[in-house]
């Protein structure tokens, strides 16, 4: 029964390769996007850490900056 499911009447190679290509494309796109996101976030955190207290205080006034710092563990 499993063998029939895999062979799909002789069309298994086509069906499985189409689904595999789709999954591979999704995984690659997700990983690339996530790597870019984590890289930018890490860059932001290290730049923010390098600011002196006066500039850090000014930067912290912006909502987005606070959100980026607080969400540095998410995703």
């Amino acid at each position: 029964m499993i063998s029939e499911f895999i062979k799909m009447n002789g069309y298994g190679l086509y069906v499985w390769s189409a689904f595999s290509f789709t999954l591979l494309s999704f995984t690659t796109l997700y990983l690339i996007t996530k790597i870019q996101y984590v890289r930018e976030k890490n860059k932001f955190v290290s730049k923010f850490g390098a600011l002196d207290s006066k500039r850090a205080k000014v930067a912290r006034l912006q909502t987005i900056n606070r959100e980026i710092l607080s969400s540095s563990q998410s995703i």
């Binding site: 069309y11 390769s17 189409a18 689904f19 789709t22 999704f26 996530k34 930067a59 969400s71 995703i75």
Partner: protein
């Protein structure tokens, strides 16, 4: 007028949303795969090869939808002088391009058992390939142009030229004699597809839409953090 589109307000939502969208996508995609590969029936003519439709058609629909949205957002960005529209459009492009490639490759795989060839220069397939080239030009333009005003102008021109191709893709199967079959699903008239196949197709379309939303959110957040990084340099 577009205060709702302020990045600070959007980021409050987009920074938290990806994890929920990811869970929803995983659930819908699993149901879609089960329906597409196990529960849906085989076709009386195409047998099991019809299952390729469940990845090919949603990918094609979403790539067309995303390109239309990119054009609309780019034009709106110009009309309303709102740069955030361009940022949203830029963040949508990678998933649109990938869906376009998935549609082309899975279509080619489906073509071999159905038509006896991997590729044919017929109107539908060629116009989809042209759309992939427009996506590529759009993405490359954002990478190569340093001047911001310049890149907004160039990418908008690319989308305006590319959108001409979208109705050609849609109606190519009606306008020309092609290998590609005519549309089985019509919004305004009765669809020729059976509900046992339509249901998995719609589930997979929902899953693909959720995946493009997930990628969009992550990409949009990345673009906003990039801008904020530049802002920290200027402090």
């Amino acid at each position: 007028m577009f205060k709702i589109f302020e990045p600070s307000k959007i980021f409050l939502i987009t920074s938290k949303a990806p994890k929920y969208v990811m869970v929803l996508f995983a659930v819908v995609f699993t149901i879609g795969l089960l329906e597409a590969l196990i529960f849906s029936p085989e076709d009386y003519k195409q047998s099991h090869s019809v299952r390729i439709m469940y990845v090919h058609v949603p990918a094609a629909w979403i790539s067309l939808g995303i390109f239309s949205s990119i054009t609309f957002l780019s034009l709106s960005g110009y009309i309303f002088k709102n740069k955030n529209f361009f940022l949203i459009a830029k963040s949508l492009a990678p998933s649109g391009f990938v869906f376009n490639i998935v549609a082309l490759v899975t279509g080619s795989i489906w073509g071999k058992p159905t038509w006896g060839t991997w590729w044919a220069w017929d109107a539908r397939i060629t116009s989809m390939l042209i759309l992939a080239l427009f996506y590529l030009m759009y993405l490359v333009a954002w990478r190569i142009y340093e001047n911001k005003e310049h890149v907004l102008k160039i990418t908008t021109i690319i989308t305006i030229l590319g959108i001409i191709n979208v109705p050609i893709i849609k109606y190519s199967v009606n306008w020309w004699n092609t290998l590609h079959q005519p549309a089985s699903i019509n919004v305004l008239s009765k669809s020729s597809i059976h509900s046992s196949m339509l249901f998995p197709l719609l589930i997979m379309t929902a899953a693909f839409a959720l995946f493009s939303l997930l990628i969009f959110l992550m990409k949009y957040n990345t673009e906003l953090i990039k801008i904020k990084n530049k802002g920290l340099d200027r402090l």
